[in-house]
Symmetry: C2
């Protein structure tokens, strides 16, 4: 996973990350997940739904990590940080795409990342309703579907005008809406509202470009190793890798990434 | 299916409509569907993709209908109308949501309707990637998932402010964009880009309101019997059932429908 890691350590961590995803699935696909409580975290502002399923799924993953790797730090969306030692941190988003989840739409995912000294080195995007698990680590990107693993690779698209483009909510872009309009007017096809699953399909070669703003670390940590291992380019809106501003561009090729950020820079 | 039809005739037609859906699935899920040609029907205007899979899937359904019911009329998206006698017409959309299909996203559907004297009396919304078939006929709405049939019903939502809302493309609304903005500002959650599948989930009770414009008969014919049989209300933007203008509102309850068209009428 990290360049100097023994293959066996990498395999062990990848296999453990899959275990985490399947532990979360047992909660998110459980019968109770059809009749769950929804709360609004938005506190009078924008509606920000969270379900009891988010919490039970994150707890299931936290319990496994604490048992297996008690010294690893854990940062999840729904609970306070659990401190650790030794430089390894798990980043967890039990349900990315809660809006899709509560609308009975299938492209919500569970996002799991392992960071070494704050650098995401292993990522899992799991889509339980679709029985698809996307894994990126040690330069290898894989999809597991129906129990079978296959390598995946981004498309060879280099031009914005030929890109299949996705973004979660066109009305969440706020002030830089002009740059969104510029992209929408050029790309070949646009799809909205798929959250982390859009990046999974970018790694799988059927979406070419994703541009978003307002992402939090638990939203983007897992995406980075998957996109990179599949041959894509992921960075911020200015050509760097300052992800903490939450403005992300993921592209099938470096050329496409750079064309896209030129359009954003003009805004 | 029609009120005076013998149950056996209705059952036979429902069962045949499922056969059509599964014949289409054999094309849309076939290995060739992973490496298909895409053409642009847009003729220099807006990009309007069609794939060879659309054509082979429609042909498969047409062949079954012509053999079993040679006197039935057939209207499909991709081929010229086949005239018939006796008042029965099949309306076919082999892939509703071609944009999602070509982006490797799972919520595209096959839409099948049977019309009696131009009135849609049987509707099927089939989601092959999700193994879900939604059927509405003779006042009964059913989902078949993993081979098991269950009755479905719309939610009891009556207020726009509590609605889970869906529309395919916010930028396709054109001039009445002000009315879209009014709805977006009020509803609880918005999801874009699910085409016919949004109506399926409305029938299944997890989406409450869908508002769209620019729909063609092969887009809306199949939705009408499914929504009605599930207890929902589907009509045009003015409170009537003049669907041919392509402006559709589907709602979980009549009260929600009427609240939504008040917002549209103000535009």
């Amino acid at each position: 996973m990290v360049s100097h890691a023994a293959p066996s350590e990498n395999d062990e961590l990848v296999s453990f990350a899959r275990e985490l995803a399947y532990a979360a699935r047992r909660q998110t696909l459980a019968p109770i997940a059809r009749d769950y409580r929804i709360e609004d975290k938005g506190q009078g502002g924008q509606y920000d739904p969270v379900t009891e399923v988010d919490r039970t799924a994150e707890q299931a993953m936290r319990a496994l990590i604490s048992t297996r790797f008690p010294d690893h730090e854990i940062r999840g969306e729904e609970f306070p940080e659990k401190p650790g030692t030794g430089g390894y941190t798990w980043s967890l988003d039990p349900i990315d795409g809660t809006r899709s989840f509560i609308c009975g739409l299938p492209t919500w995912t569970t996002l799991i990342a392992l960071l070494k000294d704050d650098d995401p080195v292993l990522g899992v995007i799991d889509a339980p309703r679709l029985d698809e698990t996307y894994i990126g680590a040690a330069g290898q990107a894989t999809i597991i579907r129906g129990g079978e693993a296959s390598p995946i690779r981004t498309s060879s698209c280099t031009r914005v005008s030929e890109a299949r483009f996705s973004t979660t909510d066109p009305f969440l872009w706020g002030p830089p809406a002009a740059s969104l309009e510029r992209i929408l007017n050029i790309v070949r096809v646009t799809r909205y509202g798929h959250d982390g699953y859009a990046y999974a399909r970018l790694a799988g070669g059927t979406i070419d470009l994703v541009v978003e703003s307002g992402l939090k670390p638990h939203d983007y940590n897992a995406l980075i190793p998957v996109i990179r291992a599949a041959g894509g380019h992921i960075g911020d809106w200015r050509g760097g890798t300052n992800f903490s501003a939450g403005q992300i561009v993921a592209a099938a090729t470096p050329e496409l990434y750079h064309s896209a950020i030129c359009l954003l820079a003009d805004a």
